[in-house]
């Protein structure tokens, strides 16, 4: 009995140490760019794909005849950033060759689904507010959700 207590104390001590070791690798605060930002008013964007925020925010703004939406620039295969090929009117991923049309719908390569779209809304000034921590996925039928696009 005494031995059992000693060994179980040592064992649980080591187990707790191990759990602490694992928890240690998940920091509480991280210093990453904000996931919410403003990108101007809808009239700033012409029909088609605008790549001016790709470098800074990793997004593309696409405007169709009736909608404006923000594509999160992450390939749905393994997370590289595709390139916008204006001459071919498509997004092409340099890592494994997935291709997407101007609305981010996949049509070639290993990508399993269209690129996700970020949450968009208009603030009091009429500016577009983008939140890339909230993404809408096509297979879940979220591309018609309220904040997945802006009616224009």
């Amino acid at each position: 009995m005494r031995r059992w207590i000693v060994w179980s104390s040592i064992g649980s001590f080591l187990l707790i140490d191990f759990l602490m070791f694992l928890r240690f690798f998940l920091p509480r605060s991280i210093f990453e760019p904000s996931s919410v930002f403003r990108i101007g008013v809808p009239s700033d964007y012409a029909l088609g794909v605008d790549t001016k925020w790709q470098q800074q925010y990793r997004i593309w703004v696409t405007r169709t005849s009736d909608r404006l939406f923000v594509i999160y620039a992450r390939c749905t295969h393994l997370g590289c950033t595709p390139d916008w090929k204006a001459s071919e009117n498509k997004f092409k991923c340099p890592c494994h060759g997935s291709g997407y049309d101007s609305e981010g719908i996949n049509f070639e390569g290993p990508a399993p689904r269209p690129m996700d779209r970020a949450d968009v809304s208009l603030d009091a000034e009429g500016q577009i507010v983008v939140n890339i921590s909230k993404l809408y996925e096509y297979p879940k039928g979220e591309f018609d959700n309220e904040h997945s696009y802006i009616q224009v």
Binding site: L22, F25, L26, P27, I30, E32, L78, G79, C80, P94, C95
Partner: protein
């Protein structure tokens, strides 16, 4: 003596103008006397192998004629004892072993040595990492050589580890009683691949950055541990608390990921791998040495056998 003194006297008389002796002659005389003294002194010295210093280090005298002593001199040496005192001749034929395990270990040593040297110039920070690589490549003396040695040895080590494994499969060396050592070897293979992968990010170039992006994105789909994997969302995992987050120290491949990669690459994984290697090598001997083919008999021995049987 008498003749010498007679000869000297006239010389001194004739060369009286040159003063006593030339410096060369004095040097010669001095060196011969020094040599004589040195020889005398050396005679009083012990054989180096008989000194206390020698004996305190090596402990066992190296006596070739005595097999027990030959074994002891190996067993009592921390470096040599890693090898068995005796090996089966058939087990070390290169066509059988390919020498792949040994080559892999040799590459590990090369990588440790060149890696430590590279650490003298490399800062694992976003601002410095790639600049340090360029600095090593173009300015640091022998920096390019070191970096390339590290890079090529790393590529080779992955290849030789696989070939070693392939050889072990082909020769059936994973079978009883070596099953456990096979498992240790599989762990070492995984550690080798992890070393390769963590080293990939360190130059902080486009190739490494996207490779690690792709690699860690796979971790998203880990069952129960990744936020896009089976049971991940049900367990409340998000991009900010899953296994990928723990690996990268963030939700994106950034400064934390670079630092973590560096620490795992330089300290964490080599330390664990060293322990597994020690077990791996030790088990080779405990499991009966390198597994060998049927013993080969030399022609000289065949004659001996023929003689016996005949």
């Amino acid at each position: 003596m008498a003749e010498g003194s007679e000869e000297k006297d006239p010389k001194q008389l004739t060369t009286g103008e040159e003063k006593p002796k030339s410096w060369l002659a004095r040097m010669r005389e001095g060196s011969t006397s020094l040599k004589g003294r040195a020889v005398e002194e050396a005679k009083t010295y012990k054989d180096p192998q008989d000194t206390q210093l020698w004996k305190s280090i090596f402990r066992v005298s190296h006596d070739r004629s005595d097999p027990r002593n030959r074994s002891l001199s190996i067993l009592s040496n921390v470096f040599l004892h890693l090898h068995p005192a005796k090996i089966n001749r058939d087990a070390v034929r290169y066509p059988f072993t390919w020498g792949m395990g040994g080559i892999t270990f040799y590459l590990f040593i090369v990588l440790t040595f060149t890696g430590v040297l590279l650490m003298f110039y490399y800062h694992p920070t976003k601002g410095d990492a790639f600049r340090d690589i360029l600095y090593l490549e173009h300015d640091v003396p022998f920096g390019k050589l070191l970096r390339n040695m590290h890079r090529w040895a790393a590529h080779l080590m992955v290849i030789t580890t696989w070939l070693h494994m392939f050889r072990v499969v082909l020769t059936g060396s994973y079978k009883r009683p070596r099953e456990f050592n096979w498992c240790v070897g599989v762990v070492l293979l995984v550690l080798t691949l992890l070393l390769s992968f963590t080293g990939y990010l360190l130059p902080d170039d486009q190739l490494g950055f996207w490779a690690v992006t792709v690699g860690t994105n796979m971790a998203r789909a880990t069952p129960m541990l990744g936020h896009e994997g089976p049971f991940g969302p049900q367990l409340g995992l998000t991009a900010y608390n899953d296994v990928r987050f723990g690996l990268l120290g963030g939700s994106i491949v950034d400064a934390n990921a670079l630092l973590r990669s560096y620490i795992w690459h330089c300290i964490g994984i080599p330390l664990v791998a060293s322990i597994f290697m020690a077990v791996h090598f030790w088990r080779i001997r405990k499991d009966g040495g390198i597994s060998g083919p049927a013993p080969v008999m030399l022609e000289s021995e065949m004659k001996a056998v023929k003689k016996k049987t005949g």
